[in-house]
């Protein structure tokens, strides 16, 4: 273990020596674009130990969904892993052939997307989806497979707050919140070690979102899940995760325990993102934006990717990549991090 980003002070964390569930090292992913290759993920390190819950936050184009797709081996045509490793339970997925990847999906890692409506086949009842997923990875066939699958489905539907008779419903008869719950239940059929939620509650109304978030929080404990939560909403990440990793233009710029990072961000981008987020408490104020736009990722800058939008940037920031600083379970990739002088 070259280094350890886990925060020793975060309560209930397994010992650092536990074998990681997911270990991403130096991951680089690029996409084909008319003007060249877009560097979507530029050398990402991320380690999730058993029971860990990590939120990956960032804006559109930051590369957060690309990370998830790379983990699942689901990059679209034109996208490829250029370098690095994605180790799931010790095995590097980037070199696995497709037929072996299939054995990994659902069983060891499952992913829940934003649009549940398009994840289900409209002409099949929920029950058929559970039976399909069951059969794909189990030896049983025929009626036995069906009855075992449905037995498991009933347990899971109840766990996500749905009535077991939802099995007999067609997707279009269910509300968005019920479908999203059903999709989470479906992802848990084979008891995956890693669950990836990619904006899984973003399309829901706030009341329904609160219901689903509290159910997921319970599932994390009951099913001993290791979760990677991808969201643009720092509130959602705070609700579900112990740690947060902030992604900007394909680079992790900051990582650490959620509450520490949100209360005292060290990277100027994290600080700006937290300030831009409107709060229900505290003084009413004029909202702050982050002026400027993402750099052109077909020609990534030599220096810090955030330098052009950064209020603290100096000449040195544009010349070379910023240093990475690790301390107290936190990581920050910045030449002039906030709170540095005070010894944070």
């Amino acid at each position: 273990m070259t280094r350890d980003l886990a925060a020793p002070e975060a309560g209930g964390r397994p010992p650092a020596a536990a074998e990681p569930v997911l270990e991403i090292r130096g991951l680089r992913v690029s996409y084909d674009a008319p003007t060249g290759r877009v560097q979507a993920v530029a050398g990402l390190d991320l380690v999730l130990r058993p029971g860990d819950s990590v939120g990956l936050v960032g804006e559109s184009g930051s590369g957060k969904s690309t990370v998830a797709l790379a983990v699942m081996g689901l990059l679209p045509a034109g996208g490829r892993v250029d370098a690095g490793q994605v180790r799931l339970l010790g095995r590097d997925l980037t070199t696995l052939p497709e037929h072996e990847l299939r054995a990994v999906r659902w069983r060891q890692a499952a992913m829940v997307f934003q649009k549940a409506m398009s994840a289900f086949s409209p002409v099949h009842r929920l029950a058929d989806h559970f039976v399909d997923v069951w059969r794909a990875h189990r030896p049983e066939r025929g009626r036995r497979a069906r009855s075992l699958a449905l037995e498991r489905a009933r347990v899971l539907l109840e766990a996500v707050g749905l009535r077991p008779d939802a099995l007999w419903a067609y997707p279009h008869t269910l509300s968005g919140g019920m479908l999203q719950r059903a999709l989470i239940a479906l992802a848990l059929v084979h008891q995956p070690r890693l669950l990836i939620l990619d904006e899984a509650t973003t399309a829901l109304d706030v009341v329904t979102q609160a219901q689903v978030l509290s159910e997921v929080a319970r599932l994390q404990r009951e099913f001993d899940l290791t979760t990677l939560v991808i969201s643009h909403d720092i509130g959602v990440v705070a609700a579900l995760c112990r740690r947060v990793a902030v992604l900007y233009a394909g680079h992790l710029v900051e990582e650490g325990p959620v509450q520490q990072v949100l209360e005292a961000p060290r990277h100027p981008y994290t600080a700006a993102l937290v300030r831009a987020f409107p709060r229900l408490r505290g003084p009413r104020r004029r909202l702050e934006s982050i002026p400027g736009t993402l750099p052109d990722l077909t020609r990534p800058p030599q220096g810090c990717v955030f330098a052009d939008r950064c209020p603290r940037a100096a000449g040195a920031c544009r010349e070379g990549p910023p240093p990475v600083e690790h301390s107290g379970g936190r990581m920050v990739r910045c030449r002039f991090p906030l709170g540095g002088d005070a010894g944070a």
Binding site: E59, S60, S175, G176, G177, D205, V206, V207, T208, Q209, A210, Q211, L213, S214, V216, A217, H232, D233, I234, G235, V236, V237, A238, A239, L240, V258, Q259, L262, E263, A272, L273, V274, A276, F277, P278, R279, L280, R281, R284, R285, R286, L287, E288, S289, I290, P291, T293
Partner: protein, 334 residues
């Protein structure tokens, strides 16, 4: 900002005044059976004063967008009246309706659907001025685009796809403001945008209000956002406004159990855990409303009376109205 709200009790004339507004869909019979109508907007009174930003909050399907469409006369109400600057506009047609469109504009959620992808911004901006026969097109466009942070020399000849979502939404607001409307309905104007660019769009809107006294109905599902942007907030549930009051008061001391539930449901970055859900279940269909309070089925405080008699909006404090038989604060224990 808050001082605007305080002036209401005086003699100021409302800019928009909706009374008993209803919009029902599909009333009557279907092919096979008589079906009850879907009551999207079901008896709304709403007033917006000049220069005021009123937030309209609610979940999907509560009728907030329909109400917005009624106020800009994109749809006709089933019943009720709408007055603009003291004049009844409920049934305006033809030339008079077109003239009204200059006074009342609308901004939608998705700027990429607002603009025709085949035309450059130049065309999209000149059209409204030509339609309304306004002089000085060059100057007006340059002015409003400058304020939108989109200088004409760099942006006027671009196609919509050549702008980012935030830039294009600012262009959409610029276009709406070109004809100098007095009232604008903004329907989820920033919910498609990244948090980092929302502020620039909203602050542009706030600046316009400050300069021109434009009034806004700001439709959103985001209470935290509404708190920072709006003077007043109205909360809608199943076609009716259930609570209405100054933004700060409504978000800090809500009286209606539904408003309280909405507030408790917003994920709080400072809390650090998932809150236990404030409400179970989902709203019933607006086509299947019974008697009594429409929130009674989900309300933790509902009594027999709530299921029999529908509460009406009544003053709870100056400028604060709530439609509930048991508004908060009258409860001894939470």
């Amino acid at each position: 900002m808050p001082d605007v709200a305080r002036q209401h009790d005086g003699a100021r004339q409302p800019l928009i005044e909706a009374r008993g507004l209803h919009r029902w869909y599909g009333s009557g019979r279907s092919l096979l059976a008589r079906r009850p109508p879907l009551r999207a907007v079901d008896g709304v009174d709403l007033v917006v004063y000049p220069g005021e930003i009123v937030g309209l909050i609610g979940e999907s399907g509560c009728g907030k967008s329909t109400l917005g469409r009624l106020l800009v006369r994109l749809e006709a109400p089933t019943a009720g009246t709408i007055a603009f600057a003291g004049r009844d506009i409920t049934h305006l047609r033809g030339r008079r309706l077109r003239a009204l469109r200059r006074q009342i504009q609308v901004i939608f959620q998705n700027p990429f659907e607002t603009f025709d992808p085949r035309y450059r911004l130049r065309q999209a901006l000149y059209d409204p001025l030509r339609i309304h026969g306004l002089p000085d097109a060059e100057r007006r466009i340059a002015e409003v685009m400058e304020r939108a942070g989109l200088p004409v020399d760099r942006y006027l000849d671009r196609y919509p796809r050549e702008l980012s979502g935030g830039q294009l939404q600012r262009a959409a607001i610029a276009r709406a403001m070109l004809v100098e409307p007095r009232f604008v309905v903004a329907d989820e104007p920033v919910s498609m945008l990244d948090v980092s660019v929302r502020a620039e769009v909203l602050n542009f809107l706030l600046d316009l209000r400050a300069q021109r006294q434009t009034a806004f109905l700001f439709i959103t599902h985001d209470l935290a956002l509404a708190r920072h942007v709006c003077d007043r907030i109205a909360v809608m549930y199943l076609g009716r406004i259930v609570e209405e009051g100054p933004a700060e008061l409504l978000t800090s001391a809500p009286r209606h159990p539904y408003t309280r539930a909405l507030l408790a449901s917003v994920p709080d970055p400072d809390a650090g855990t998932a809150a236990s859900p404030a409400l179970r279940g989902e709203p019933p269909s607006p086509a299947a409303l019974g008697t009594g309070c429409r929130f009674a089925g989900r309300c933790p405080l509902a009594s027999e009376a709530c299921r029999r008699v529908e509460p009406v909006l009544e003053p709870a404090a100056p400028g604060h109205r709530v439609a509930c038989h048991f508004p908060w604060e009258e409860q001894r224990t939470p």
